[in-house]
Symmetry: C2
Subunit: 525 residues, 2 copies
Amino acid sequence: MKWNAWGDPALAKPLSDRILTLLTSVFGELQHVDTPDAADVVLRPSALTPDDIAALTAAVGAENFSTADADRLPRAGGKSTFDLLRRKSRDVQDAPDAVVLPATDEEVAAVLAVCVERRIAVVPFGGGTSVTGGLEPIRGDFAAVISLDLHHSDQLSKLDEVSREATLGAGLTGPAAEALLAEQGYELGHYPQSFRFATIGGFAATRSSGQDSAGFGRFDDMIRGLRVITPEGVLDLGRAPKSAAGPDLRELFSGSEGTFGIITAVRLRVHPVPAEKRHESWRFPDFATGAAALRAVTQNGTGPTVIRLSDEVETGLNLAMTDKIGGDQVSGGCIGMTVFEGTADQVNGRHETTRAALLAAGGESLGDEPALAWEHGRFDAPYLRDGLLANGALCETLETATDWGNLDRLKGAVTQALQATLQETGTGSIVMCHISHIYPTGASLYFTVIGAQRGDPIAQWQRAKNAACDAIMANGGTITHHHAVGADHRPWMDQEVGELGVRVLRAVKAAVDPTGILNPGKLIP
Amino acid sequence: MKWNAWGDPALAKPLSDRILTLLTSVFGELQHVDTPDAADVVLRPSALTPDDIAALTAAVGAENFSTADADRLPRAGGKSTFDLLRRKSRDVQDAPDAVVLPATDEEVAAVLAVCVERRIAVVPFGGGTSVTGGLEPIRGDFAAVISLDLHHSDQLSKLDEVSREATLGAGLTGPAAEALLAEQGYELGHYPQSFRFATIGGFAATRSSGQDSAGFGRFDDMIRGLRVITPEGVLDLGRAPKSAAGPDLRELFSGSEGTFGIITAVRLRVHPVPAEKRHESWRFPDFATGAAALRAVTQNGTGPTVIRLSDEVETGLNLAMTDKIGGDQVSGGCIGMTVFEGTADQVNGRHETTRAALLAAGGESLGDEPALAWEHGRFDAPYLRDGLLANGALCETLETATDWGNLDRLKGAVTQALQATLQETGTGSIVMCHISHIYPTGASLYFTVIGAQRGDPIAQWQRAKNAACDAIMANGGTITHHHAVGADHRPWMDQEVGELGVRVLRAVKAAVDPTGILNPGKLIP
């Protein structure tokens, strides 16, 4: 993963002339962006004392400890637009004071014990793909902060083929986990956009939801058990698939974003690699018709693996298909995608009932090609942002969810807030939206915003982001459907869960992390 | 609901001669049981002071407050075998010191404020159907305890037909809630055996799971939002269908059994009343084959509304069909039941794929009749227990859940523990089991135990129950799949969630109920 951009350097794509022309025609002249090399970046020096270093080294071994800038820089933040813009600064950049790579639960516990004793904050690190400030090296009340990198927790330690459960190490990336499962004919089916880099532990800690959530569920649905190392001891959560033995504590540690403990292993529901896969794309005359069609599919339980709907703006830009952005339109109206997986019988049955529901709700089939194109580029959209940011455009995504009955109101309010605020900063904007996760009672809304950088782009985007978050809270949305809270959404958590809800979260934290070393400044106000 | 037996007095059934003959032939002579009338019961006098009474009366009005024995006795406990045996005592029986019936959230908050100030414990009361000691009038460190009866919270306050959500008052019984929804063409589809008496708030507080869970989900799956009144303030949980904004606090208050707050309203996923319904019954050669067949159904997602499997013993006694208990066997082997609901197309599709899976897994169809008979008597089994207890037999149920791969081991261990312990108390026993809730990774096990009362039946059953709970914990089960923890399962909670898990629960409780008035002695060790 690149230190200052998304993903694999080999896959980076400079903006095409077509897109650059489109940008300047919409936004006018774009300002120059200074893009320093890694060698030009000046990191805050490590604040660890020789005694700190000796204690941490004793916990994990010298080969699993580093204060080198080359190790600290890639863990200085995540991959939000804020993060990527901060990485361009020629001022001193903040970074964790060391990177520590424990190999076992015992080493994780030993690291936490050192950090409690020596009062060092701990930021857990998986794939580094947070887009909500979950990896900010916030020291809180502490003199130092370390990045606790879990990538040595990379085992498939158990596969129960009867119960269809796999216990996977927290540090396994999506592809690494799928490769281990595929050796035995299974898969997890969790494909968020961050799939290629993000990790099993990160999926659990952030309540991730993947593009196949309609078929295989959100990541929290897949969690059968969690192993969590805290400064106060170890939790092995999940005695049974479901239980009435009080609150479900798995649901308290899912989404805890490293503030309650270090998730080192996750026991997950898996399924055999599907035998068949089928794609169909759809056109709806408008977003409201398309949304009602998706609602019919989930409320009737017709079983697609993937179902998505782009609004008119996203459809018009072909943003659903990364390879074709800005090219000729596939269609007017709103494009939708469906994918079906399973045995041949399952695929036939699910496809037949879903297409009947979509046709009845006003959809028109566009065949398989657009859905195949979407699938081909499904993990590539973040590369586009790098090109936009480098060329003076502003680009970011944000997401929320609400009930079906409130979808239009929320979509309109967020769009309006983004456009109006960016206009105040001196740029027009393109605000696109899609639905990619559906439930019987509601759906997610995922916005992509493009504008021009004007002045300090960090301050500019902060203003727009604040307005969007305020609009979400004022119009019945959740502050995040699948990107988590981190440092960026934390100011809205009191509205999200209420003042007493915040006190409950603080009480849990005090029970498992009384010194407060775990990921300070994230999630809990 | 009767004070000393299950349900509606008009539906009580004395044991048939056939069953009595069966009992004495299996267990020998049964001991006489003394069954006092309500007029013979001596209740512990109310411990409330005149000042307490004045303050509580001021909170809810005189007409919603009572210290009369006739009101306290029906709220002295739930409907476990322990409870029913305790009600037969001619010694002084414990009971709440008053019954308080608030009509609004504000009145609930006012009652809690009085109880905090005057140090009075509070036991929330819905339908009174707890079978795990959830209603024990435990005073804890307090001088008095009241029963907070929620039956005035009986409104359908909102129905959103687009989002398919209904907000229902906590005090609505199952039939009352379904009647309100049916007026507008909807239903909840939650049918536990306690359905006729238990309440919406009780279902949420205990993580109930109904007989249609395969189709409509557990009650916690249906919860879109919760309103909870605590001594420290009000929580309105659930901003969106699903969210990544930290832990899901709905899952912390679901199953909190009145120890974290008073649930006064629940926003629930509902669905249109199904147009069609179809039944099919099955015979499997043995339990292992049947369990594997049910596993195939859930792991392939074929969509029955109800699916159940009785073991050989339960099948032999026809216990699956209350009207026919002890009569001619429907079949050897193990009987299974399936029910399908939905539109005609959905019923056809779900039935076709489910029956294909069950046939492939070794099932033989028995037509619709046994499944219709099961459905007809689905809420009546508890009446049978009253007749057994009155005639000197011992009868109780208990349940757990585990992974598919561990099902046989757990079933064998619990059966063995019950039989061996009851043998030590001087009676043979019949231990039956069925599966009634299935998940892709595992299933519930529901045991029914019949023996003869020997000496003090409370002490006798406590010994057997302890052995069963120990066996559950030693063999990978959960202490309860859908009956909750209450006072009865509380001694096993430290094993269920671990010592640190218990500290987390205590921390949450301290945040919302710092004086500890809420349902002391339940759930949290």
